[in-house]
Every structure is written in C-alpha cells, then in structure tokens.
C-alpha cells in the first residue's frame, strides 16, 4: 500500500507527497498532460522535440543542468504518445533546488533560437539512431499507419518524418508551451525523504505565483472500429523474414486492459509461455517470438511479433500462430496457468515499488488518469480476472477483422 497526501494549489497544480524516510534522497516528478497524440498531423514529433527544449534554459535560469548537478542531483525526461514526464533525483537536503529549477521552467522558457537549432539536430540524430539505422527500424511507423486511420496514435512519438522536426519554428514552440505547460495541466509528485509541510511551503513559494493557464480540453478523433482485416508487405535489406500482427484493444481504464495483460503473459510472458514453447521450441518455426501491448491511455494495440527461422514460409508461420490463438478462443486456460501469470504480476509490481522514482512516476500517471489512489488497486484488478474472462476476451480480441498484419521480408 503506497501512502500519499494530495493537495491542489490555487493555480490548479496538483501536488502529491509520498514520504519514504528510508532513503536519503528526494524525487521530484512533474508530468505534463501532453504527448504526441496532441500534435498537429503536420507537425508530428513536436511534443518530444519540445521536451529537449525544456533543458535549454528558462526565463530566470540560463542553465538548467549545472545548478542541479552542483546540488548533487540527476534528472531526465521522456515523452510518450500520451504524456511528457520530467524527473529529478536529488539529496533530500537540496530539494529546494529542484523546486527552483522546475518552477522557473514552468513559468516560462528562455526560447533561444540557438537552443532550438541545436536540439533540432540532436533529435534528428536520435531519429536516425533509433529508427533509420536499425534493421526493421521503420516497422512501427508502418504498423501505426496501417492500424490507425484517424486517431493520432497513427504516428510515433519521434514523429512521422524528419521534415516536421527540421522546419519547427520558434513561434510554434512558444504557442505549444503556453498551451500545454501550465500548472493546470500538470501533476507534481514529491517523494522520498520529505515532509508534507515542507513540500507545501516550497510548492506555494515557488509554484504559487505561476499563472494557471487554460485547462487543455482533449478532443481527439476517435478510431472507428476496424471492419476488414488489413495486410501489408515490406521488402527490405534485412537478414530474416519477420512477422508482425496487431489487434486493437481498449485503453488503460477499461477492465479488459487487465485481462489482456494477463492474456499476453500467458502467450509470451516467459520461457514457459505458450508461443515460445510451441513455436520456438517444439515446432521451431520462429527464432524469436513475443507478445506485448502498447500500454497506451487510449485504445491501444496488442502485438505478436516474431522472426522466422530461415526456410519457414510466412503461411506456415501465420498458421501456427492462428492455431495457438484458436486454442485460446476454444479452451479455458487452466487455473494454474492463470495463477502463474498472476504471481508474476504480483512480483513485478513489488519489484517496481522498490524504487522511489518508479513509485513517484506511477502516482503521477494514475493521477493524470483520474486518481493517484488507483495505484493501490492494481493487484486486485489483476486478481479478479478469471479463466472465463480470458476465453471471452480471446474471442473478442483475436477476430480477423480486428487484425493488422505486416510481412517484413528479407530481399536477400
């Protein structure tokens, strides 16, 4: 059970305090309610580029990193399709430095032309490093475009194409900031060796006078239900054929999400899971296979992806997967198989909670979803899933008309 206290500043900033006196450190985690899904389709990659610019100096503090490092702190940030998260770990004595730095960049950035110019280049190199130079590196760009026709999940966080980043203008950067990076659109978690009183004082002192901003009303185009099976073939200079299949699944708040998470563990949660045992070990059709899902807030995708053993045809490989999915649709999994993936989930949650940083990020995420307290009900939700749920969900999920397939073929 993770204990915490919550209060809201008059400007709308939600603050959560989670005390853990066993550590000498403090963590500050600020999550902004903006991700790649909030981007203009002609300006993709912007939320992530923006995250880089958050380190380019703020209105009163020309350099963000130096004073933090001087105080013995470390920080980083990440952007997803759903949100942008910034976090600091710092010796608890120097917590106020984190308040000073984070509040100043929430107040306003410096908006320097040089920073924009450099970070554009850095992000372009990041794009190349992660998506252009890796074999199969473009597959998720292609899969998102295949599976999503309307919802902004149809592009990746890094962006649809390099040109969107190359042409980003300072004016757009400013607009984006004042639209999304306001107290009313953020959640701050302060955790570790801290007290509620001190966090209250510091929050009022440093964040209290930042203008609230306008609450962002998210109004995204919803993805219409898929009604025909979709397939695509890619030929590229890769050594092995690979198969990717995705099915639409509900978002983070749906009960089905929990069923599907356990279901995906049954299929590929470890070396004793079904797909691995049947297709890698027994039939030896795949050299590697896995099943996972996007974990996204809005309706996401469940993925099965694998690399084929040389000489195996796509038809054989797909048929073997279908056979495994048919079993899921026609027979109840055993109670002990379900118990296995529940046990795994229990221990995974316990290991995640080892780190104050991870607890802080979870609290922020659940608060963004609706209520930080939901974090404490996760295990219960997984626990309530039955073998009948898994059966019904498999029938619902693994329908051909719900499926998107990419054959990624080696052309040598």
């Amino acid at each position: 059970m993770i204990q915490f206290e919550k209060f809201t500043l008059p400007n709308g900033l939600r603050v959560i305090v989670h005390q853990d006196l066993s550590t000498p450190m403090a963590v500050m985690n600020i999550m902004y309610d903006v991700g790649a899904r909030d981007e203009d389709p002609d300006r993709t990659g912007f939320a992530h580029l923006f995250e880089h610019l958050m380190f380019g100096g703020s209105v009163n503090v020309p350099n963000y990193d130096e004073p933090l490092q001087m105080a013995g702190g470390e920080n980083n940030a990440y952007t997803t399709n759903d949100l942008t998260n910034y976090y600091i770990q710092i010796p608890a004595e120097n917590l106020e430095t984190a308040f000073w730095l984070e509040s100043d960049r929430m107040l306003s950035l410096a908006f320097g032309e040089k920073s924009l110019e450099t970070q554009r280049k850095v992000v372009i190199e990041e794009f190349k490093e992660h998506y252009l130079t890796k074999p199969y590196g473009d597959v998720w760009h292609k899969m998102r475009e295949l599976a999503y026709k309307k919802h902004p999940y149809r592009w990746m966080t890094i962006g649809k194409e390099l040109s969107h980043i190359e042409t980003a203008q300072l004016e757009e950067v400013k607009n984006f900031f004042f639209k999304h990076y306001r107290p009313v659109n953020a959640v701050m978690v302060v955790a570790g060796n801290v007290t509620v009183e001190k966090v209250k004082d510091l929050a009022e002192k440093w964040f209290g006078d930042i203008p609230a901003g306008e609450a962002y009303k998210r109004n995204l185009p919803q993805e219409p239900e898929q009604t025909v099976e979709r397939k695509q073939e890619i030929k590229a200079n890769v050594p092995l054929d690979a198969l990717y299949k995705c099915w639409h699944m509900p978002g983070r708040l749906d009960r089905r999400y929990y069923i599907i998470e356990l279901l995906s563990d049954i299929l590929s949660g470890g070396a004793s899971s079904r797909l691995y045992q049947s297709l890698v070990k027994e039939k030896q059709l795949f050299s590697h296979i896995e099943c996972h899902h996007f974990g996204s807030t809005d309706d996401g995708l469940l993925v099965i992806e694998g690399k084929l053993v040389k000489g195996v045809t796509m038809e054989e490989a797909e048929k073997a997967i279908e056979l495994e999915l048919d079993k899921m649709k026609n027979e109840l999994v055993s109670e002990s198989e379900l118990q296995k993936v529940k046990n795994k989930t229990e221990s995974m949650l316990a290991f995640e909670d080892m780190s104050v940083m991870s607890r802080a990020a979870s609290l922020a995420y659940y608060e963004l979803l609706g209520d930080a307290a939901w974090m404490n009900f996760e295990l219960e939700k997984y626990g309530s899933v039955t073998t009948e749920d898994i059966l019904q969900e498999s029938r619902m999920l693994f329908r051909a008309v719900n499926c998107n397939t990419i054959h990624y073929l080696s052309n040598n």
Binding site: V61, T97, W100, T133, N343
Partner: protein
Amino acid sequence: MPDRKQAPEIVDAVHFDLKLKPADKFILDNGVEVYAVNAGAEEVMSLEWVFFAGNWHEEQNLVAATTNFLLRNGTSKKTAFQINDHFEYYGSYLNRACHSETATITLHCLTKQIKELLPAVRELITDSVMPQDELDIYKQNMKQRLKVSLKKNDFVAGRLIDVYLYGENHPYGKFSKEEDFDALDRGQLLDFYKRYYQEGKLVLFVAGKLPADIGILLNQYFGDIPFTTVENKKIIVGPTAEKKFRITNDPDGVQGSIRIARPFPNRHHPDFMKVQVLNVLFGGFFGSRLMSNIREDKGYTYGIHSHLQNHMHDSAWLISTEAGKDVCEATIAEVYKEMKELRDELVDEEELLLVRNYMMGGLLGDLDGPFHIIARWKNIVLHNLTEQYFYDSINTIKTISAQEIQQLAQQYLKPEDFYELVVI
C-alpha cells in the same frame, strides 16, 4: 515572491559522510563465501550465484557462454519447459549471464517463495544435462540473431574496438562467428559444466528482505556441493599495431558508430580512482565536456559518453558515440580538441566542484536500497578489493586537485595512444 534569479542555498554533496552498509559474510560448510545485505521495505530478494566460468576459462570460442545459457534447459529429471514453468509459477525471474571471468545465475523473487526455488537452483548447478536438441535450437537461433546484429553499426564497432585493444584471441577481444556456433559440441559443454560449475568456484551474493534462516537455507542447498577452486590463468593481450580504422558496414547508413579507446590499467592501479574523476569531467555525465560541446553545442549526436571498462585484468578507456555520417570526422576532431583543452588548461574550481558534487550525489543515490548496496559489494569482492576502496574513492572525489587532473590528462589523454574507429 521568491527571487528566481538566485539559486537556493545548497549543502555541497562533497560534505556528505557516505557509508557503505556492511554486508554480512558467512561461509557454507564447503567453504563457499556468502555476502548478504538484509534491507529494504518490500518483501522481495535477489540472489546471485557467481561462478568463475567466464570465457577466460574456455578452450574454444563460445563454450562458456553456451554452457551458461543452457543451464536451465534441462536436467536429468526435468525438461526446459518444466524448469521454466516452476520458476515462473512462483513469480520469480531466473536469469543467467556469461562475462569474461565470471558467469552467473540470478534469481529475483518474492521472499515468501524462496523455499520453493532454492532446490530448483541446486538442480541446475548439480544436474544440468545440456540436451542435444536444446543445443541445436540454440545454435540455429543464435546464428540468426547474429545475422541481425551484424547489420547494426554499433554492434560491429563494439566488437572491433575490443579486437584492436586486446587482440582477437584474448577473452576481452574475441567475438562470436557463425562457424563458432557450428563447431559447438555437447561433450565439450558437459566437460566445461563439470569443471567450472559442478566442481567450480562459487561466490554467493544475496540481498533484500531476507528470511531469518537464510544462512541455514543456503547451507542446506549449496553447502554440500564439492566445489573446488579455479585458477585465473594469465592471458597476454595482443593489441593491433595499426591505430586508425574506417570500416564500411552499411552503404546506405545515415550514421557512423565512433569508438575511440586506449588501454588503461584496472582498479588496482593508483591512478584508477583519480582518472574516474577526470573521466566524469571529460565524458562521464550529461554536463561533461564532450556532451556540452558535441551534443549541446554542435548537435552532431544524440549522445556521447566515455567510461573506464570494468575488467579485472587489463582494461581500457573508451569514448563512444553515434554521429551523423557527414560529421563523424568533425566529431573525432572535437574529441581530440577536448583532450587538448584538459591537457593545456587547469579546470576551474567551480566546474571541479560541480563534478565532485555530481559524483557524490550520484553515489548517495546509488547506495539506496539493498540491490544497489550488494552490487557495490560484489564489485569489491570480485575485484579483490577491500571496503577501504570505497572510502578511498570518496576521498579522491573530495580532494583531487585541478593540478592532478591536468597531470593525468597530460599522461593519459594523448591522441597518439588512442585507437580510432568509425563504422558506417
């Protein structure tokens, strides 16, 4: 209204009095050493069985790694599936890894499940049979994986730079080829298993919320196995004479993998700790000289880092980055420029204090929780160091002077000593 131009007061991390929580040490009946850190709030624990069974000890390429990999793929009583099903049913994570000198089995689990799991680990250590069909599947899949990896410039660069530094026949320099997989023979694996696991040398590291009878349990399951000792034979490095390499791997590539490295002694050398500080300043953190110049000013790369390799014998100092194809040579020139600056000019006290505080703050965070603490102890034990090493490093961070740093730069950051590689 706070004065936002003014940084809040800080306690310089350099003044922190850091303590490494002691590890309990005990000896099993057969002489196996156990190091234990009992701490943490969550009901979880980790156990690591460290064998001296790394590729340092093999006669033929890949024998050590393959033996380690197949440990959980079958015993005389259980199939691979049954073994994995058992560990997974109890919500535990069983992993294994093969390094240069050592090879390990690690188990992460809920403390309440430990009694179900220890007998199963014992079975892996005493009764693995490395079935032929498991070996065949492994060979096939690893060869396929290798084909994919070889398409990646960073993978190719990582292999080649170690060959230049240590030689292709040295454990730190050798790498897997398709024919090495083909040549693997089950008999060799079983011999290696017998010598380096069943009768090998074991050290155990456990951490987390430990059961009160952990010593008794470990002795019950591992205290009667006839472990012996393993000598670390001497192997001489054979670096290449040529120092500069430009390799084409992917003609359509948009980035080059750059590696710049020089040989450097291991942790027992008196300069090692001091150079750790110089390394942080040079390329060891986000605010480093290399990062500030080459990423934050020039935008040539998403990241550039330098580090001292953590080898037990010979070691090296390595700079690595992935940079735009057109700016690879410019990146290398800037790296040398930063070396020159460190040789020619004293680092100012403000920047040095920042590095000290950053390192101390990082250490404080790194000592947080039982798994971090046991990792420190493991490093101390396996590198044949003492607890004092930890306190000496802190003292070095606190007291090293700008003059010393400059001298070290003059001694070790000379371009002519460095191997240089770009893989495009």
